[in-house]
Amino acid sequence: MTKNMKNYNVNEKGYYGEFGGAYIPEMLYPNVEELRQNYLKVMAEPEFQKEFDQLLKDYVGRPSPLYFAKHLSEKYNTKIYLKREDLNHTGAHKINNTIGQILMAKRLGKHRIIAETGAGQHGVATATVCALMGLECIVYMGEIDIKRQAPNVARMKMLGATVIPALSGSRTLKDATNEAIRDWINNPVNTHYIIGSAIGPHPYPDMVTKFQSVISEEIKWQLKEHEGRENPDYIVACIGGGSNAAGTYYHYLHEEDVNIIAVEAAGLGIDSGESAATSVLGKAGIIHGCKTLLMQTNDGQITEPYSISAGLDYPGVGPMHAHLCKTGRAEFMAITDDEAMKSGLELCKLEGIIPAIESAHALAIFEQKIFKPDDVVVVSLSGRGDKDLNTYINYFNL
């Protein structure tokens, strides 16, 4: 980090600039405080690191490849690399975090695990590690999402998890998160809450970011092998809550020559009223225990976002990203449903890879932004598209 550069990491009080903190009811204080006091210590233990690294290697299948996308690069006349998080066990980056957090939960003596899930990817990743470790797993999922994502509900059940429908509010991810938090309030001693994104009260955003930072750690040495340099010119990721983005950016946050691009879901269009582009539509507020950019009414009621991609369909954004946005460190772009779907299908045809619709948003920036022929652009391909087959089928009438 050079001297004139801002700090983009969390400070000792749990803030990224004005964002972050722990805005939690007193009932949650002992749990969150226990985690805050221990997480860095536990993560620094050589035994913990060894177990984490081993599982990422043998169970998740890391390192995930950094793939030079030749045809995509030819089409857009620049050098595009894809970080293949889609090849991880369970099909997305989510498992990096759940492996880390399940090991954390065990170190803290917790034997009951709860999680929230939207599309079901984080729920599946949590159910997977609970099965691996033999811990009880309860996943909260909005009633509407349960209907929309039946295969992932079945996966979670096969893995031994109990899926509880969130019946409050809009019955989607936001409400599933509320229900998980309420569960934690009601079970303050034996339970660990595995939050799936870089959101929530401190220390969650930092802990999730650190577990996901394996992504940028690998990109550094992999790009060195490919290009003879660790730093790309651009690093690109899609953002819902922002966990894959946080991991993709982490080791580049303070590398001034690396441009950071964050891609949000514009849904039907930023001004359509059906969007999830928080950086444009949101303002500072409190959601799920942290201060961040948040889509809300003038009166401070949290509003429902929309995106064709369930993983980007969140009314807030992690506090680290809110800070990157506010400081201008990251360039935020917004991609509509149609643009993402088109780019998703294009990757299938050009590279033989079916991306998650979330990741397809990140790929769609090449239609909007012109890069130089010798620019090196690394895009996080955060997940595979198998879970989205129904959406692809309906959209393209396949």
């Binding site: 805005y23 009932m27 225990g289 009621q301």
Partner: protein, 254 residues
């Protein structure tokens, strides 16, 4: 002196009732407050509804959702309450989550509370350290008492800290739960009440969560200055409407 402090000096056990503003009908707010006072309630907590009430169980969630649907907002509530001090004398507290207050502007919110004659605030998701660092001087400037929660899991050290920041009463949450989740008290609760009682805190304690009838009210107030009823009252209003408040209050006090 703040009405809350005055009330706490009275030689009796205090009954505090929570209701959700704008529920069941948008314009029930004032009549509910008047009826509660008329029937002998000591302190009223006016719930400012929020879309995502993390610390609340299904009853208060549902009332909040409906209140918002009815059109309740911070502005509307303040407007409904603007003449409340012409007819109501007991302490009034606004209970709500931090985001709507933050959007209104914390200082503007507090100023408005003072103009209306609100005596205190309960904000479950505004942590005591953030309050102390950023907002305490504003609350005090406008004569507002901020009420903090403690739970059976709160350490003695933290309770002492909260006691040192408080200047009214401490909201003693009876068990680790969301609102309305549990009814009645077991041995664990009475031990906790006794433990807190023996700490000789500067601020009196009022018990909340798990109180729904005369028996639980009597139990809770054996150990504390008063008790708060929320979900049970909201349920009563749901079933019986806002015009049968006398029945409810009488069933608690007699």
């Amino acid at each position: 002196m703040n009405r809350i402090n005055q009330k706490l000096k009275e030689d009796k056990k205090l009954l505090s009732i929570y209701f959700t503003a704008g529920y069941p009908n948008i314009n029930d707010t004032v009549s509910i407050i008047q009826d509660l006072e008329k029937n002998g309630v000591d302190i009223i907590e006016i719930g400012l509804p929020f879309s995502d009430p993390l610390a609340d169980g299904p009853t208060i969630q549902a009332s909040s959702t409906l209140a918002l649907k009815n059109g309740m907002t911070t502005e509307v509530l303040f407007d409904q309450l603007k003449n409340i001090r012409k007819s109501v004398n007991i302490p009034l507290i606004i209970m709500g989550y931090f985001n709507p207050m933050f959007q209104y502007g914390v200082e503007a919110f507090c100023k408005k509370c003072q103009e209306i004659g609100i005596d205190g605030l309960i904000i479950p998701d505004l942590p005591v350290d953030v309050y102390h660092e950023k907002y305490q001087t504003i609350f005090e400037k406008y004569g507002l008492i901020n009420v903090f929660l403690i739970t059976p899991q709160t350490s003695d050290e933290r309770i002492r800290y909260i006691d040192s920041i408080s200047n009214g009463f401490i909201y003693m949450v009876s068990s680790a739960s969301t609102t309305g989740a549990k009814v009645g008290f077991g041995e664990e609760q009475t031990q906790y009440f006794e433990r807190i009682g023996n700490m000789n805190l500067n601020n009196p304690q009022i018990v909340g969560f798990g109180i729904s009838n005369n028996q639980t009210f009597t139990q809770a107030t054996q150990y504390a200055k008063g008790a708060i009823i929320g979900s049970a009252f909201v349920k009563h209003v749901t079933n019986e409407g806002a015009n049968s408040i006398d029945n409810f209050v009488n069933s608690i006090l007699n």
